[in-house]
């Protein structure tokens, strides 16, 4: 089991990575033009009121000291107070994390459900009509930006056919899933095109490759050749591609959550940026960064589990 040892020590390497991320986001957020105190007070702002707010939130301190306080708070499980919502950022995030998490998970699952059968179909009919159809669809998918796709899905399925809700998030589990169908389909359609291309290419190579030839030479039926040999070997390169794309997708939820009015982290982030809510932007960016690191860590574990040759 020594191949899995990295599961124990790899998290130690995350600490400097996360520290670095926190410094960068902390500094970058403060480079955004505009003053949160001014935004908060709106038209009623007077120089005295602004100064009072700035002092209250520590914004008058030098930036390194602000960062030091931030770390100090973090050690106590706090990320500072949101200027807009008046509660601790960490608590704010925990109330918003569920829709985003559900959206990402369902989108990834849905994209696999779309990609694996379509890629298999295309690869096995390499050059045939099914292959051309799948390639046509996936080229289109790459061409359409998610925000446009989201609008089209709403117009067609929600407005015309009245099958799904236009926006929002439900109360019960079933209702929540019902609300998630169109948003996750939006993401899955874009994501699956990338996966289809990678899987299809890998499968075609494997179907013509030595492993498949050797299997056929010993009389294995095509089903065993495909599912036992071609499929696992094609999945190896796709796992890492998927991990990279999930990282990108976590950031991409911002657009989809805005279009579908899902009360998730993406929506929170957009509002926080507009209101110069430093603490929230900082916190959400940190959570996104942690999630990306975590996803890649999980992908490494999956790769080691699939491919006995890999050593981390």
């Amino acid at each position: 089991m020594h191949r899995y040892k990295f599961v124990l020590y790899r998290p130690l390497q995350f600490l400097p990575v996360l520290l670095g991320i926190s410094i960068i986001t902390f500094v970058l957020v403060r480079l955004i033009p505009g003053d949160p105190a001014r935004v908060l007070l709106g038209t009623k702002s007077t120089p005295a009121a602004i100064a009072a707010i700035r002092a209250q939130y520590g914004l008058d301190q030098p930036i390194w000291l602000q960062y030091f306080y931030f770390l100090q708070n973090l050690a106590h499980g706090e990320m500072g107070k949101s200027i807009l919502y008046k509660i601790d950022v960490l608590r704010l995030i925990t109330t918003r994390i569920e829709p985003t998490l559900a959206l990402v998970l369902s989108a990834v699952l849905l994209s696999l459900v779309i990609a694996v059968p379509l890629a298999s179909l295309a690869a096995r009919s390499n050059g045939g009509p099914a292959d051309h159809a799948v390639r046509f669809i996936s080229t289109f998918g790459i061409g359409f930006p998610p925000f446009w796709l989201a609008l089209m899905l709403i117009i067609f399925f929600s407005v015309r056919l009245d099958l799904f809700p236009v926006s929002g998030y439900g109360e019960s589990l079933a209702d929540k899933l019902y609300h998630l169908i169109l948003p996750s389909l939006t993401i899955a359609l874009s994501l699956s095109t990338v996966l289809i291309r990678s899987l299809r290419t890998a499968m075609i190579a494997e179907l013509k490759g030595d492993i498949a030839t050797a299997a056929r030479a010993r009389g294995m039926p095509e089903s065993i050749v495909f599912w036992r040999h071609v499929m696992p070997n094609s999945l190896v390169p796709t796992v890492n591609l998927l991990a990279v794309n999930i990282g990108w997708l976590i950031g991409g939820t911002v657009v989809v959550e805005s279009v579908f009015a899902l009360p998730g982290m993406g929506q929170l982030l957009v509002r926080a940026i507009f209101s110069r809510d430093y603490m929230v932007v900082q916190g959400v960016a940190m959570v996104f960064a942690c999630a990306t690191v975590l996803v890649n860590f999980v992908a490494d574990i999956v790769t080691v589990a699939i491919d006995p040759r890999v050593k981390q």
């Binding site: 020594h2 030595d210 492993i211 696992p232 699939i306 006995p308």
Partner: protein
């Protein structure tokens, strides 16, 4: 020959390409007897692999079609049976093993499971029973700890064990006929002997008929009963091996036999053992107690285990100007690392290497400058070593321009001279590697080495990827160049027969150390070390009456048979 088990009659295979059909197999007929080993011999492109693929209709491309002929097995014509029927013939009646076990075994599946898979599908047993059969097969093909090794993955085994595993996978279907497509070409000579012996044992114990595809007549002479010689898809001659090797009818066969490095005609009588004046001359290369160690990568951060791997352990060697020294040894013996260290391409951990008096360790800059101007290397794979986007002329011009050894206006002329030297037409200056054959590319590679005007050429397995007749031509070219240009040649090879025919002195390496060194004739006639004896004994001789490995060969080199190379799987 007993009655025919498999009978091929007038088989033709046609490739329908964009520029019209081409006949790749032309009216081929032969029989395979029960328990017989038939050797299919020919050079690359002769159609020997394609013939065997056609027997079970496993065509490498959909553009290849069997257009005529019959393949009769048990009264059925395999070219006509249904797709389902041919699938039940594959594996079950006719099994196959391939040249490269690394790419043909599934890297993600335990080797035991790969064997059990065939058992399940073809023998209709399942679960525990299939596992038991698989364990039995593992033992039969020479795994010493089947129960433990069942769980190993292909990459955990050495090349020889992987080939054994692949034979095991073929046996899992319990075939009557085994097609072995160059089964030992990728293996070291001692391992090759073990695999060949295994195949012969299996023939005895199972009554297996074998079609052995090979380019090495030595292997045929040692293992086969009959030989079929193929060229350009045609059968030139077929017959008992003693007849074909003794009285070859076709000129091509005669040439093939004459090209074999173990033929007496090809062995140089020790060319004036570098006349004794050389004792006064300064050696061109001086290697003194050289150690090369590489850090072991992939260690766990807090794990134990060795930090370094020793590729070369305390090697000392002197090479005189004008000498031709062969370095032989199996893969992993450190022979390539030694050459790379000598050229300043591998880190020197300890010891000293001097080229023409310049020490690579203490005067690195000076020595490297000297090395780059006075040494050149010829590589194993001519296609990969040449830039596919450059014409041969452009490639040579580049070297000449960098070296500044000839004035600009003479470069064109010099390119012509270099091509003359290596026996290429001058028109080749305008050709690119992809439009050339392997032998022509290797000649171009040698021309590039000569462009440096080197004192020393290091040739690393430079004929290993070539056909025998081409091998012989390249070796002749080296012999000729050596004489004309007074070159010093360091010839690295795992093929002892070639070294024997070309080199005056031979150095035998094993596990990073020199185990034996001396005049070639002497070492081959009376090897001192058991390892050298085993190495020499394992060369398949073209004379069928000089058997492979003496009955009690040197000590067994148990690296190969101890199984899991990576040690104990926890």
């Amino acid at each position: 020959m007993s009655e025919a088990l498999l009978s091929v009659h007038d088989l033709s295979v046609v490739f329908s390409g964009d520029d019209g059909p081409r006949t790749l197999i032309d009216d081929l007929s032969f029989d395979l007897g029960k328990g017989e080993i038939l050797g299919l011999v020919g050079e690359s492109g002769s159609g020997k692999s394609l013939t065997c693929r056609s027997l079970v209709r496993l065509m490498p491309s959909p553009k290849l079609k069997i257009t005529a002929g019959t393949v009769m097995l048990d009264g059925r014509d395999l070219t006509q049976v249904s797709e389902a029927d041919i699938r039940s013939v594959r594996g079950r009646d006719i099994g196959m093993i391939f040249q490269n076990p690394t790419s043909h075994l599934d890297p993600l599946m335990r080797i035991g499971d790969q064997i059990a898979e065939g058992v399940r599908v073809h023998r209709g047993v399942d679960g525990k029973e299939a596992r038991a059969v698989a364990l039995d097969i593992l033992a039969q093909v020479g795994f010493t700890h089947p129960a433990r090794q069942y769980n190993g993955y292909p990459h955990e085994f050495s090349g020889g064990m992987r080939q054994r595993a692949m034979i095991g996978v073929a046996l899992s279907c319990d075939p009557r006929i085994l097609i072995a497509d160059e089964p030992t070409t990728a293996l070291d000579v001692t391992i090759q002997a073990q695999i060949l012996r295994l195949l012969m044992d299996l023939r005895e114990s199972r009554g297996l008929s074998v079609i052995m595809i090979t380019h090495d007549l030595g292997i045929v002479a040692q293992t086969c009963d009959r030989i079929a010689v193929l060229r350009q898809g045609r059968l030139l001659e077929i017959g008992d091996k003693r007849d074909v090797l003794g009285q070859p009818q076709h000129p091509y066969t005669q040439n093939l036999i004459a090209s074999h490095p173990s033929m007496p005609a090809r062995q140089t009588t020790p060319v004036v053992m570098h006349d004794q004046t050389s004792t006064k001359a300064r050696p061109l290369i001086e290697i003194d107690d050289l150690h090369v160690r590489f850090p072991v990568t992939g260690r766990a951060l807090f794990g134990g285990g060795p930090r370094e791997f020793s590729a070369v352990k305390g090697v000392s060697l002197q090479v005189m100007p004008g000498e031709t020294v062969g370095i032989v040894g199996e893969s992993g013996s450190g022979k390539s690392t030694l050459a790379r260290a000598l050229l300043g391409l591998a880190p020197i951990s300890e010891g000293h290497v001097a080229f023409d008096g310049a020490d690579i360790v203490t005067e690195r800059t000076k020595a490297l400058r000297k090395l780059r101007h006075e040494t050149a290397m010829v590589f194993q794979d001519p296609y990969n070593a040449l830039n596919p986007r450059l014409t041969i002329g452009a490639m040579l011009a580049e070297v000449l321009a960098v070296q500044e050894s000839v004035p600009k206006e003479r470069i064109h002329e010099r390119i012509g001279e270099l091509l003359d030297l290596v026996g290429l037409e001058r028109e080749f200056a305008d050709r690119k590697p992809l439009s050339m054959s392997g032998g022509q590319c290797q000649r171009a590679g040698i021309a590039r080495a000569l462009a440096v005007n080197p004192k020393l050429i290091v040739a690393d397995e430079c004929v290993a990827a070539l056909d025998v007749t081409i091998q012989a031509q390249i070796v002749d070219l080296f012999r000729d160049l050596k004489k004309r240009l007074n070159l010093t040649l360091l010839f690295i090879a795992h093929d002892l027969a070639i070294v024997r025919s070309l080199c005056e002195r031979v150095v035998v390496m094993y596990h990073g150390e020199i185990v034996e060194e001396g005049a070639t004739a002497k070492v081959f006639a009376a090897p001192r070390e058991a390892y050298t004896r085993a190495l020499i004994g394992a060369i398949p001789d073209i004379d069928p009456d000089k058997p492979l490995l003496p009955p009690k060969g040197g000590e067994e080199f148990d690296d190969e048979t101890s199984g899991l190379v990576t040690g104990e799987a926890s």
